[in-house]
Symmetry: C2
Subunit: 161 residues, 2 copies
Amino acid sequence: ESKVVSGVAFSRDEAKVTLTQVEDRPGIAAAIFGPLADAGINVDMIVQNISDEGHTDMTFSCPVEQVKRAEKAVNEARDRGEISFAGLVADTDVAKVSVVGIGMRSHAGVAAQMFKALSAERVNIKVITTSEIKISVLIDRKYLELAVQALHDCFELEKAG
Amino acid sequence: ESKVVSGVAFSRDEAKVTLTQVEDRPGIAAAIFGPLADAGINVDMIVQNISDEGHTDMTFSCPVEQVKRAEKAVNEARDRGEISFAGLVADTDVAKVSVVGIGMRSHAGVAAQMFKALSAERVNIKVITTSEIKISVLIDRKYLELAVQALHDCFELEKAG
Ligand SMILES: C[C@@H](O)[C@H](N)C(=O)O
Ligand SMILES: C[C@@H](O)[C@H](N)C(=O)O
């Protein structure tokens, strides 16, 4: 029910970076995020879905202004032979929108409502990541205002801004 | 630093279900999670990475005992023509392990440490999803004890159990 959801959060200047087709074996995630940490990248979301034929994609989000530095750190790790990937896809036109709640344990219902509200506005969901208290998606930045309003309406929240 | 991490959480009887190659267009996520909510599935993690040629994989985790019911709900949605997917992959041999912290905003450092600790034990990371306060991974259940111990050691935490 909408009481479960306490707010909508968003981050306008988000970017996502994806290393496509990294090897799905122990040590690879560490070999990607070690250099990113050393480079001072403020990683927010980290998303890895299941692998296919021993490879998977690794996506992370960070502030738009850190993308170049993040790509450099990842490319240098590859140049040192620490990781390999098919491609490095940076997208600086996304925004992050999240629905925040308490005890969203049975949150298929909240997730379904959130996704339905976005689809009603034809906003495409590009990446999804969740925790018990937060369902976050990345969408095209141009839809941010529309998405935030739709979610406030859906969950009957007062818009703060 | 390890003060940022306050604990290690885990869920032993987790399962993951992946719908491979769903269409990446508005309405699909809602069409998957609506039926799951109606079927009373306790969805915990939801993971969607970027799409490739208009398709992407959708993964969610739920209790092992709900997998059959979840698969049924998803198959029925497909039979009604509401969604399409290439395959439905259920994995009942995973466990969820999370590192919990406050203000892990610059959490590339914490993530790197977590991933390094798991790789040192040769534990493969199958799925990753994050929020500011939690980095969660799915691993093979047989490594759960090992993973939890490794993370407690890495972050210098007292083991509760
Ligand atoms: C892909 C990456 O997560 C790999 N499975 C690892 O364990 O590091
Ligand atoms: C794949 C799914 O998330 C789709 N992009 C949607 O918006 O519903």
